[in-house]
Symmetry: C2
Subunit: 158 residues, 2 copies
């Protein structure tokens, strides 16, 4: 599928994001189409990788990972060689939920979930700050989650 998403695709995706277990019949009803049509669309969307995975979202607090920290990491100016290593390490830390390269004066932003502030301290000193080429880490503890979703509001493309 190099093709763009049409309106039917968009509506299917939005509904599936809200509840991935919605029965095919209900889904077809809501998008005013037939079971077969909708089913085939979903197949296409999964083959094309538009739908990446089916998962469950957990309550971090109830799952024992109540502390969320955003860590902004700056690398040493002339340590381009240490980047692959940094990336590899970060990918293998289960505490790191996300890591994005940023434009501007910060190099990386990391979203980290741990059981406690104590646990973050351990992670910070023994893992993150020990990676070669790391110059500066600015850790911000998140207080309230005003909004925390994964939902992308899809609309038909051109």
């Amino acid at each position: 599928m190099a093709e763009k998403l049409d309106d039917l695709d968009a509506r299917i995706l939005n509904l599936m994001q809200d509840d991935a277990r919605i029965p095919l019949v209900d889904l077809a009803d809501k998008v005013a189409s037939s079971r077969s049509a909708v089913w085939r669309r979903i197949q296409k969307l999964e083959e094309a990788g538009v739908i990446k995975k089916h998962t469950v979202l957990l309550d971090a607090e109830k799952a024992g990972l109540g502390v969320l920290v955003f860590a902004q990491v700056k690398m040493q100016a002339h340590s381009r060689d240490s980047l692959p290593n940094f990336i590899e390490r970060v990918r293998n830390f289960p505490e790191v939920i996300e890591c994005h390269t940023l434009m501007g004066d910060i190099d990386f932003i990391l979203k980290v979930r741990v059981p406690s502030i104590q646990a973050y301290e351990d992670f910070f000193w023994n893992q993150l700050s020990q990676i070669e080429g790391v110059r500066e880490i600015n850790s911000s503890i998140a207080l309230t989650a005003v909004k925390d979703t994964t939902r992308l509001n899809i609309s038909a493309q051109s």
Copy 2:
């Protein structure tokens, strides 16, 4: 369920996060337990809200939302009254995927997904910066996603 998660819960949750559609039989096999036992655990975990929702994760690029921006927002010092309004507005922007209150000198961090930089500019000027009480916004465009998951690595509690 005020009770803590045991090892069986943890293994079920980790597997379901990897693939929410795993058949109950396979799940039972992998955690070395019976269908019934595993099924009842899942019910409990959903009732208790440990499992918050079943969803699909989309490829943002392929879904036409290829631009990711982290916006750090500072509010005016003496505008505590405008916070509820800010929160309400942010929750209703579909572009804003996440918004967390932070300790330290930044008040909020927002994760925003839009189709293009142009679209972000529109969102920035016409929506975000117009909210009452907003003093300063620092927008960072994300380049590469080094890691982008929702997976919490669960282990048994105390």
